[in-house]
């Protein structure tokens, strides 16, 4: 629906500057667009293409490979229930069935009020805490049916302020101030670091390495 806002465009340029080549910022910028709109809008992909200097089709080509990028709006809360082997052994599929019943939709669908989308996902790296699920990529471990219902009730009543809307991942970003950047240039402008050559040479000649 929308291109990146002015603030986000500034952030996008800061992100692009961290890579030897701009195209590497494609995935981070898709995350940024998804954070802004809750999903990855077509206009945002066009904007990203302009920023990193590739075609919009290339952005789509990359983004469509990754399952976290949603090209259509999803619920404000994305409920990912793991059903992979470790969770399956301890009730992951039953938890998914319960989640579907509680929310009245099946996996892959979104509730009519656009609050929840359920997904049946692959391993989320919480195997020793099975069954596990994520809501907007925040973990919930050893979830019972009662636990699940309680979380949903809390979200519905607005008491879960720790869960940002879908699209926001890490709530803190890395920032590198321009004067703190050590050495980020395209690969063809790089050569052997001076410190590396000097320090290794010092040892080869038996001198002090510092």
């Amino acid at each position: 629906m929308s291109r990146l806002s002015e603030d986000n465009e500034r952030l996008a340029l800061e992100i692009i500057a961290r890579y030897p080549r701009p195209k590497s910022a494609t995935i981070p910028l898709c995350h940024l667009a998804q954070e802004q709109d809750g999903y990855l809008a077509d206009d945002a992909m066009v904007h990203i293409a302009e920023l990193v200097g590739i075609s919009a089709a290339e952005v789509l080509g990359t983004a469509s490979f990754y399952e976290m990028f949603k090209r259509k709006p999803v619920g404000k809360y994305l409920v990912n229930v793991c059903t992979n082997i470790s969770c399956q052994l301890l009730g992951g599929e039953e938890l998914l069935a319960h989640a579907e019943k509680t929310l009245g939709i099946s996996a892959g669908a979104t509730t009519a009020d656009a609050m929840f989308t359920i997904e049946d996902v692959e391993c989320i790296a919480a195997c020793t805490e099975a069954p596990a699920c994520q809501i907007n990529y925040r973990y919930f471990h050893q979830v019972t049916n009662a636990d699940f219902d309680e979380i949903i009730t809390e979200i519905r009543s607005g008491r879960r302020t720790d869960l940002p809307a879908h699209g926001t991942l890490g709530m803190v970003r890395q920032h590198i101030a321009p004067d703190e950047v050590a050495n980020i240039t395209p690969p063809e402008q790089q050569s052997e670091p001076a410190w590396y050559a000097a320090r290794n040479a010092a040892v080869a000649t038996g001198g002090e390495s510092k």
Partner: protein, 464 residues
Amino acid sequence: MTDTSNTNGTAPAATAQIVSSRWDTLDGHTLEGYKRSGSYRGYAGLEAALAMAPSQVTDQVRAATVLGRGGAGFPAGVKWGFCPPGVWPRYIVVNGDESEPGTYKDRILMERDPHQLIEGCVIAAYAIGAAQVFLYVRGEMAHAQERIAVALNEAYANNLVGRNIMGTDFSVDIVLHWGAGAYIVGEETALIESLEGNRGMPRLKPPYFPAAKGLHLKPTIVNNIETLSNLPWLLCNGVDAYKSYGSEASPGTRLIALSGHVKNPGVFEIPQGTTTFRELFYDERYGGGIRDGHALKMFIPGGASAPWFFPEQVDLPLEGRVVGAAGSMLGSGAIVVMDDSTDAVKACLRVVRFFARESCGKCSPCREGTSWEEKILQRIYDGYGRPSDLELLLDVADNISPGPYPVAADPANGVDAIPFPPRQTTICPLGPSSVAPITSALSRFRHEFEAKIVKRDLIPLGSH
């Protein structure tokens, strides 16, 4: 229930603590906490490294035989040595795309001790002369991304990353990068493709090692989170101290995620190569035994890609070469225990379904084969299997991984182990990995498959 605060994962008492020493420290993830707590003083390892020449740091890592913890178990120091001389720049890409089913260790390291990882990255960058480090964190791990971002901002502000680190002439940037949900990106060349802004598909080999041609076709070292997290302790305590843990061939410790039907599942740091599966499953410090009223049926010793082991393999040590010779692999340190309540067909189907869903689609044997494997297994599980399905399944599997597939020995039936790794008709091991659960389950529990297939014949005529 625990929620977003992540209080799980057990730092085991009275065992080795190289990488897990700050897991129970409330502020171990902050710079202040990192310097104050744990089994070594934070950033003292970097200090020690900077007092040496880069080549001497590499020598130490090589002498300690720091094995890669991502799955292949390749020695990190040797890998670093593959960077061709005179070709610049060199990059380091840190593989934090942990998504092998059963694996849960890198996420804890990133969430609870991010400075340990950052210090490891800086040490590695110093050793090889890297221009830049990219820390690729799995997209779904929002909390880990936050913790690393905060730690990196702290490290930059305190002159531990960036320009003139610790007041020396050494400078390097570390950039945090998020993935976006794709298991295959854990494969190192796919990781590099993804980092270049492309679809995460593995590259055709040769070149076999990104160390020769990696990111932007420049020498690139791809190391796992746990591998790099070992470096600060190693540089602080030395090669001999490191080698005092574990076995000759596999020194040091290893993080093992023990999940499934044990009483006390958790992530444990164990001496590498010496602990046996039996100790891990039954010792009170670790698994504490199989669930009451049940017995061990089978276990996956190294993540979903590993062929299964059975009760007669429990006395093997967790040593890469031994496990390989016995027909499987230790992989990413993920052990899934299944007791006698487990339906072998269902477990096999679930693991195969994972590979079918995660196949990137580049090689046809995998793209087509894994989804056919899933379809055939699904119809068997649903009771609609055909008598010819088991041979068909093995035939499809043989197209992805030709020849005998690694299996564990079965003394009761006089079957010898076929050693790991398998052969493959694909660029990467994802497709062949889908064959592991099939041959494992069929070699031992063929009767369970046959029972489900036969069931259909027993539906009385006229009942439809």
